[in-house]
Amino acid sequence: MSARVLVGVKRVIDYAVKIRVKPDRTGVVTDGVKHSMNPFCEIAVEEAVKLKEKKLVKEVVAVSCGPQQVQETIRTALAMGADRGIHVEVSGKDYETLGPLQVSKILAALAKKEQADLIILGKQAIDDDCNQTGQMTAALLDWPQGTFASEVNIEADKLKVVREIDGGLETIKINLPAVVTADLRLNTPRYATLPNIMKAKKKKIANVKPADLGVDVSSRLEVLKVDEPPQRQAGVKVETVHDLVGKLKEAGRI
């Protein structure tokens, strides 16, 4: 198969870090904080590389949008087996307001430019938990989508996707080209080995600006404030159901 896969990878604050809200409550502290690739994006890269190893796709291209630092994330994808990278430069204010709508416009434009046959993304990012980019990208391209994938197989020129849904598992067959978003149980990402990281140094990362792709990254959303979750209050024990109902009525809950 001569298919080309586009994989989106997002640089997020590392899952193990304790998040702190900035004193001015406009966002969270990111300076000097450990960042790494979004775990669901790792799973997406792993799936793409697996497809390449099975010789079902020819080339895996890793894409990330953001400032200079996202190159680290792209390099990690290259170390895992992606063939080349594309860094879409977005920085400063634009980066702070960059969201699923803008990213999906960028990915759609890139998919057309690179003539991609398949886009694999993580189902959501662990910083904003939007769960929108995959779906929006498919809509912009008018491509079918297989979201929350826990299994992906290419059969003839169709894609069989097993999806994790509330009621259990749903299996769908969609035409290519398509957008797939990776869920937790799709695979276990490999460790980047040191020799692979060295090889990755030689792989190319192209630089592109959103304007080059004809994409306007201005946001329609304005963040008013960011707060920590409220401190958990102590609970109250009651003796009977009667008391419970009484207390709830008092608190105006019922």
Binding site: E72, A192, P195, I197, M198
Partner: protein
């Protein structure tokens, strides 16, 4: 350990004793000498020496220039100069930053996967219980490239510099020292000889498989009768008459990776003809020995206190045929090969242990911040606070030393053996203390296997013993320092033979000593080198170095060559040297943080100032003790007590109960 003999300065000593008591008119003519007429011991003695008519004119041909050249085979090493009471800052200030943008970037990319592997795949408790590194982990480490970190990339390795290697080894040290030793015995010493001394053919033949971990390497020096006294090994390699091979016979003990290695760096005595005398002498030669040569067997894995996952075994060589191409370095040059290998790998230990300490400190903090006793979290109590602070300081010093030494090595420094030895001594003892205190903070929990700290303590114990016991390394540091200081005195002695041609130099040397003796500064200063906020600490350090240089000279003049045997003195001298190097290293690091306005700069300043203040006290105390008459008596007593106990086969004093 081959200890080169310390030179004595007979000329100074002898001229000192051939005193001309009266101060003649000639003295007034020798310019600056007059300035120091306070009758201080050295000043007057040296001044008199200058006048000794027997000495003057004997080497009149020795010009001032020639002498300057001789005196200046100056070493850049800070430690070497500190023994002379001098401060050479080139290797210590500013704190080395040796990674370029690309190397830094690359290293950052390696840290993540490496840490992840050790957090998620490697199971140190399992490894300790099995007394073996788990198969899956070994495979993972090989795939990861962890077995060839410093092998050049074109031979299949990762090609890391010393500093980059140190950073990764820190991660290993933080998680599992047993694995650390398996990796270290393989690459830090096992095949380091091939990297340092191998010819191109040897490198091409052996390094690729060693880099992937397909072959494991081991370093074979120690024998049942030869530990610290490495020069006394008995394993021998006899050259065949045709010259094509050597026949190796002998046995080595406590060889890390001995049971699993394929490639051994073996040190054996080879009979050689001394070119000058024609007689046969036994000199050590290093060999690359492959298990496949036949005749190489090993014993069962030793049962140890710690680093249980690391394989330690006896290795036997019975009539092993080693091709002549497998000689590593020069025939007869094996001792140098061994010492260089060990010297080259020492920084790795300090780096690994600084990682271990970091890990252990987080556990202690976690406990202290959450444990409530007497109504408060225990970190609010002074007793705990002192422990935590000391742990933090020891870790800071160790880390600074590790990266100072690796930075120096990467910058091409050739003289770092004293500093490397100091870093090994310091790191191993600091790590032990820190881990011990961590267990103390954790109380009963610390003693329990599940907490994971007791294993670290057991693993750490060997670090004070292997790769040169700390006791031997202390002697090495002291004697190496004395030798250099002795050479300095030697050049002074030569200067004394032509005092008029060297009046300037002599005068300044005399002045220096007199000032030092009087407790005045000799003009040395670190102002302008350290960050202004650390000036006071800088001055304390300078004072300590000046007095140290003075006491070194005094000891040399007092004992001469016999200083080699004065181990009670040498130990204390080494302790001072270690403290002084530690002071300078933290001054350098804290200065850099202040200059770069790191968020942690003020905290580092506190660590630095506290350390320097206490170290200064220790050094001054030691120097005072060494100068005092009490020290002589104490040493005498210690010697006598030891002799009595040995003679008695144990404790001498009878039981207080009488039976």
């Amino acid at each position: 350990m081959l200890l080169r003999k310390v030179t004595q300065s007979p000329a100074i000593c002898s001229t000192v004793f051939r005193l001309q008591p009266a101060i003649t008119g000639a003295q007034r003519q020798t310019g600056a000498v007059v300035a120091v007429q306070n009758g201080r011991f050295y000043a007057s003695q040296a001044a008199e020496a200058v006048l000794d008519k027997n000495v003057v004119g004997s080497d009149a041909t020795m010009t001032a220039e020639k002498l300057d050249k001789m005196a200046i085979v100056e070493s850049k090493s800070f430690a070497v100069n500190m023994f002379k009471g001098q401060i050479s800052t080139s290797q210590v200030f500013p704190f080395p930053s040796v990674l370029n943008e690309e190397q830094s970037q690359f290293l950052k990319e390696l840290v993540g996967p490496c840490s992840k592997f050790f957090e998620e795949v490697n199971d140190p408790m399992k490894n300790d219980a099995l007394e073996k590194v788990e198969e899956l982990t070994m495979e993972g480490l090989k795939e990861m490239g962890a077995f060839g970190l410093q092998v050049p990339a074109d031979l299949g390795g990762v090609g890391l510099t010393n500093t980059q290697y140190a950073r990764l080894v820190e991660i290993v040290g933080m998680h599992d020292l047993g694995v650390g030793i398996t990796l270290g015995a393989h690459q830090s010493i096992g095949f380091k000889g091939i990297l340092l001394f191998g010819n191109p053919q040897q490198k091409e033949k052996y390094l690729p498989k060693l880099a992937t971990g397909e072959h494991i390497a081991a370093f074979c020096l120690t024998e049942p009768a030869s530990g610290s006294d490495a020069a006394s090994i008995k394993t021998n390699a006899v050259r065949s008459p045709c010259g094509q091979y050597y026949t190796l016979n002998g046995s080595k003990i406590w060889i890390s990776n001995g049971g699993i290695a394929e490639i051994f760096t073996v040190f054996a005595k080879t009979p050689m003809k001394d070119e000058k005398t024609g007689e046969m002498k036994d000199k050590i030669t290093a060999f690359i020995v492959e298990r496949s040569f036949g005749g190489v067997t090993h014993g069962p894995p030793e049962k140890k206190m710690g680093i249980k996952a690391s394989n330690t075994a006896e290795v036997y060589f019975e009539n092993v045929r080693v091709p002549a191409e497998c000689v590593l370095g020069e025939v007869g040059g094996g001792f140098k090969v061994a010492m260089n290998i060990l010297n080259n790998g020492r920084f790795g230990m300090a780096a690994a242990l600084s990682g271990t300490m970091k890990g252990v400190i987080s556990k202690a903090v976690d406990h202290a911040a959450n444990r409530t006793q007497f109504g408060n979290k225990i970190h609010n109590y002074g007793a705990i606070q002192e422990k935590m602070a000391r742990m933090a300081m020891l870790q800071y010093v160790t880390e600074s030393m590790a990266y100072m030494v690796s930075g120096n090595m990467d910058s091409g420094a050739t003289e770092f053996q004293i500093e490397a030895a100091i870093s090994k001594i310091f790191a191993s003892e600091a790590a032990w203390l820190v881990t011990d205190e961590c267990i103390q903070i954790m109380g009963g929990m610390g003693f329990m296997k599940d907490a994971g700290v007791e294993r670290v303590l057991r693993d750490l114990r060997i670090f004070r013993i292997f790769e040169g016991t700390n006791d031997i390394l202390r002697l090495f540091v002291a004697l190496n320092g004395f030798q250099n200081a002795g050479n300095q005195l030697k050049s002074l002695q030569k200067a004394l033979k032509n005092p008029f041609g060297n009046a300037g130099m002599l005068a300044s040397e005399i002045t220096k000593r007199a000032k030092r003796k009087a407790g005045l500064g000799t003009g040395l200063t670190l102002q302008g080198t350290v960050h202004p906020e650390l000036n006071h600490s800088g001055e304390l350090t300078v004072k300590a170095i000046e007095q140290f240089g003075a006491v070194i000279e005094e000891l040399l003049l007092k004992h001469g060559k016999r200083i080699i045997d004065e181990q009670f003195v040498l130990k204390r001298v080494a302790d001072c040297a270690i403290d002084l190097y530690a002071m300078v290293v933290v001054l350098s690091r804290a200065s850099r943080s202040l200059s770069q306005a790191h968020p942690s700069a003020q905290h580092e300043k506190m660590l630095c100032e506290t350390w320097v203040t206490e170290a200064h006290e220790r050094v001054m105390q030691d120097i005072k003790f060494l100068r005092s008459g009490t020290s002589k008596q104490i040493f005498k007593n210690l010697r006598a007590i030891s002799a009595a106990v040995v003679e008695n086969g144990g404790v001498v004093s009878p039981h207080p109960l009488g039976f």
